[in-house]
């Protein structure tokens, strides 16, 4: 079964450093997403990406965040200057023909900001 792949599985960084989280969505999918889950809390939407541009973003997704699909297969989330409160599990997801239906999530990247 096709799956969404995320790397690394764990990332530890110092506050103020830049991090890039990487994702390889399912190959024929058109819609790409980043969600995050702070330990013990609900899954929160960050951003959606369609047709090579951001289609929607949440209040969390401020100027410190950016997304990119550099080569037609990878999908990245960059946090320019990490804060302690950015510590969370970040999930990449993709879906096929329908915007928010049948999202396939990756296993996540656990980001720890020290």
């Amino acid at each position: 079964e096709p799956e969404v792949t995320q790397t690394p599985s764990h990332q530890v960084t110092q506050m103020g450093q830049e991090v890039i989280l990487r994702c390889v969505p399912i190959s024929n999918h058109l819609y790409f997403y980043w969600y995050r889950q702070i330990l013990g809390q609900k899954v929160e939407f960050l951003v959606s990406f369609y047709n090579n541009e951001i289609s929607e973003k949440s209040e969390i997704f401020d100027d410190q965040f950016s997304v990119e699909r550099p080569d037609g297969s990878n999908f990245t989330l960059k946090i320019r200057s990490t804060k302690l409160e950015d510590s969370a599990m970040y999930f990449c997801a993709s879906s096929g023909t329908h915007r928010n239906e049948k999202l396939f999530f990756g296993s996540g990247t656990q980001l720890s900001v020290l």
């Binding site: 969404v4 609900k42 899954v43 939407f45 369609y50 928010n100 049948k102 999202l103």
Partner: protein, 112 residues
């Protein structure tokens, strides 16, 4: 603003029993209601979903009940098995939206 409220936070059920998780929403624009199952160390996986044109949808041992007037929907896990032990999230979205709003999650433990 909590768009989707989920309860209980956790539940324990004996093998063979019924697990019931409830969700309530406020946004009347929501018309797509999926349930996701998450095992430790994994991302959420779509379990079953419903739209408001039906009041119930069943897939195997999993059933969604939907009450549009009360703005509530629930997941029933029949004949619960130890392998069902996981965290379950309800979610909601308007059809043409990109964003899913998730509930806080329910951790289900099935005792053998």
């Amino acid at each position: 603003q909590q768009q989707v409220k989920q309860s209980p936070q956790s539940l324990i059920v004996q093998k063979g029993g019924i697990s019931i998780i409830n969700c309530a929403y406020e946004n009347t624009a929501f018309d797509y209601f999926p349930w996701y199952q998450q095992f430790p160390g994994k991302g959420p996986a779509l379990l079953i979903a419903i739209r408001p044109d039906v009041s119930e949808k069943k897939e195997g041992r999993f059933t969604i009940s939907f009450n549009k007037s009360a703005k509530q929907f629930s997941l029933h896990i029949m004949d619960s098995q130890p392998g069902d032990s996981a965290t379950y999230f309800c979610a909601a979205s308007p059809t043409n939206d990109y964003k899913l709003s998730f509930g806080a999650g329910t951790t289900v433990t099935v005792r053998a």
